[in-house]
Point group: C2
Amino acid sequence: MSLHRMVLSRSWTLAKYFEGAPKLSDFKLKEVELPKLKHGEVLVEAEYFSVDPYMRAYSKRMKEGDVMMGTQVARVLESNNSAFPAHSYVLSSAGWTTHYISQGKDLTPLLPNWPDNVPKSLALGTIGMPGLTAYFGLKEICFAKKGEIVLVNGAAGAVGSLVGQIAKIMGCKVVGSAGSDDKVEYLKEIGFDEAFNYKTVSSLEEALKKASPEGYDCFFENVGGYFSEVALHQMRKYGRIAVCGAISLYNDSVPRKGEYVQIPLLFQELRMEGFIVQRWLNRYNEGLEKLLQWVVEGKLKYHEHITRGFDNMPSAFIGMLKGDNIGKAIITAK
Amino acid sequence: MSLHRMVLSRSWTLAKYFEGAPKLSDFKLKEVELPKLKHGEVLVEAEYFSVDPYMRAYSKRMKEGDVMMGTQVARVLESNNSAFPAHSYVLSSAGWTTHYISQGKDLTPLLPNWPDNVPKSLALGTIGMPGLTAYFGLKEICFAKKGEIVLVNGAAGAVGSLVGQIAKIMGCKVVGSAGSDDKVEYLKEIGFDEAFNYKTVSSLEEALKKASPEGYDCFFENVGGYFSEVALHQMRKYGRIAVCGAISLYNDSVPRKGEYVQIPLLFQELRMEGFIVQRWLNRYNEGLEKLLQWVVEGKLKYHEHITRGFDNMPSAFIGMLKGDNIGKAIITAK
């Protein structure tokens, strides 16, 4: 007879569908006692949580009462599954939940060559989904080439800050837009050629023209709305627009309107493509190895905006949506 | 001493930039006497003229007083250039002008294997720029594949009617939208699987859903505006939108607004691309040979909306922009 340690799992659930900007009262904490592990099962304990814009965009895919969706870096506490030995680290898609019993299908081991001096939380950011999004988006949607000019908005965010740095590694000129002077300073620190605060420039059109009088070959779109309307007119012939996100639109309950895109698309023969990184699932390893290598070589700098404590997850999420973070928004379990 | 025949050239010029829909008073007829041919020069006489939506879209690229832009099928009257012998037929980019002296750079011979029983005016339509636009747009922008579902608006127009037929040749299901019941009937005659009159359906969304409950893989966009806003939400995962034209928007002096496209592009990972057929200039022969072959085999049916007389070109242009034509709008010189 084995001694069963009682494990309490705490989860943040979606109490109520968001209307406009998410509020603290939209979330509810739930506790359940986890059963004993069965054959093939693994008990994981979260160490780092991630909050990302997609959780707002796809919130309607959850039901009220569901545990909030998301990925975490977790440690295996107990294991009846040799693929995930005790004490090893995994990426888990358990969502906003502290402890979780898995049959292994929704767990991924961290890269085996993950160095000790690289924080494991980067598996949620630079060497994780946001890093892969920047990498594949630039490579396979923007087709960014050496010497081209890349524009990215939400540039100080988890994805945007990597887009700029990877585009620099690829030999591009990089222009970034962000929503505070601190963020703009950060962008210059990590190597952006030009950066501006879109909230304080007198004319967005002039700011874009000043940053690159020749226009833009690639536009990595994280924001949507008015910014993209203006940016579209600054694209060069055959320009590519990678629509990775549209954070400024996610809270709209009635779709907001802007200039129809057909005329600018036609006149400059532009291509605009929405994408979700899961498209390259079978190439994740290629991307992760590259990202890890760049981090180890110091070519890719990371900055994490860390909130301490699982209890603060809803407020960290709300803050991320408002743009509080520079770099990746991470929540530690304790 | 050679006898110089006096040749009078008549041209329609852009008297005044269009404001909104073009009016007869925006055009002015000019006459000039042509000089004697010099070495290397060719005198051509127009037989068929073309009016196309792009002439409205790009009208700002002309100056007031310029001869209206455009392509014509012309006959060589006199030639000092062995590449274009007298009596041969050429495509000429002389614009809206009856007689023209060229050094040959803006002339293209018709396909050498052009059969006698195929009207030469098709070089302005089915076996010309509109045909190439449909062919390359479907092949290289839509990447239409056998078994896929293709939507085309402005479907009874010069390009749209070819898009539908070529997509059928490619093995697709084809749905077309047009602006009159006569046009809808024509679409069914030439093999569209489904067609509807967008002006009389009670709900565009319902009409699109009814025509293809599974949604659409490809959308060949000729119209822009509200139609495309609704159609975007009916696209299937990884759908491709070829933006070939936006005829409903060309007359706007202030850009009209619609729902931002980022959210639908993201959710279904759609690609939307503007294109101009000149992109494939070095592959025109491939396309023209194919189009001619399909016409000869009876797989590609053509319908021309013919206006008689050069004097009526402005009204033919105005009518085409209003959608008077089924198939290609052609004007005969005499």
